[in-house]
Amino acid sequence: IAGITQAPTSQILAAGRRMTLRCTQDMRHNAMYWYRQDLGLGLRLIHYSNTAGTTGKGEVPDGYSVSRANTDDFPLTLASAVPSQTSVYFCASSSLAGWDEQFFGPGTRLTVL
């Protein structure tokens, strides 16, 4: 593993189903983030974590949950998917919260039907 990996690469999901997007980093970064990218809206922060064991809500947290059991992993769960959650999801990490650059994963393209 080098940098940040995300899985799956893409997924088609029926509405109402539960889905977990996986994110793993090997850079020992303290901070991790989940964004969604939608046409015309840019990147919007869903949830973040400053360090293992802590999480916080971003700009658009409704319908999503996260956990940070260890430094490397930061899964994003959609408890009951809805079509408005169709988007491209990016995980990112940084060594210091905020002022350091963020390193991004390749993204997960999620379609909810």
Binding site: I4, Y33, Y35, G40, L41, G42, L43, L45, Y48, N50, G56, G58, F90, A92, A97, G98, W99, E101, Q102, F104, G105, P106, G107
Partner: protein, 115 residues
């Protein structure tokens, strides 16, 4: 609250011509500023950043940006673009206060380099 405005959603430019992508921010405190690039079907990667010091910042691939505090701008420039510069560019800002620093991204500018 901080915010970022990218004034142009799309910028077409001929190969070898210069380009400027505009970014204005709003913040009541000191800021850190970033430009990221996203190539098709990839995640974002850092082009350059301004934290402090010289207001002219040089980044990768020949790009540079100038921080202008009085105009609250951080425009990205390149004197001669190449086909490979076709991508989407995001300006981002974070405020220089204590604790967790939320990063706000602009909506992006798509640069299309025309051969």
């Amino acid at each position: 609250a901080q915010s970022v405005t990218q004034l142009d959603s799309q910028v077409p430019v001929f190969e070898e011509a210069p380009v400027e992508l505009r970014c204005n921010y709003s913040s009541s405190v000191s800021v850190y500023l970033f430009w990221y690039v996203q190539y098709p079907n990839q995640g974002l990667q850092l082009l350059l950043k301004y934290l402090s010091g010289s207001t002219l910042v040089k980044g990768i691939n020949g790009f540079e940006a100038e921080f202008n505090k009085s105009q609250t701008s951080f425009h990205l420039r390149k004197p001669s673009v190449h086909i490979s510069d076709t991508a989407e560019y995001f300006c981002a800002v974070t405020e220089g206060s204590g604790g967790y620093q939320k990063v706000t991204f602009g909506i992006g500018t798509k640069l299309q380099v025309i051969p």
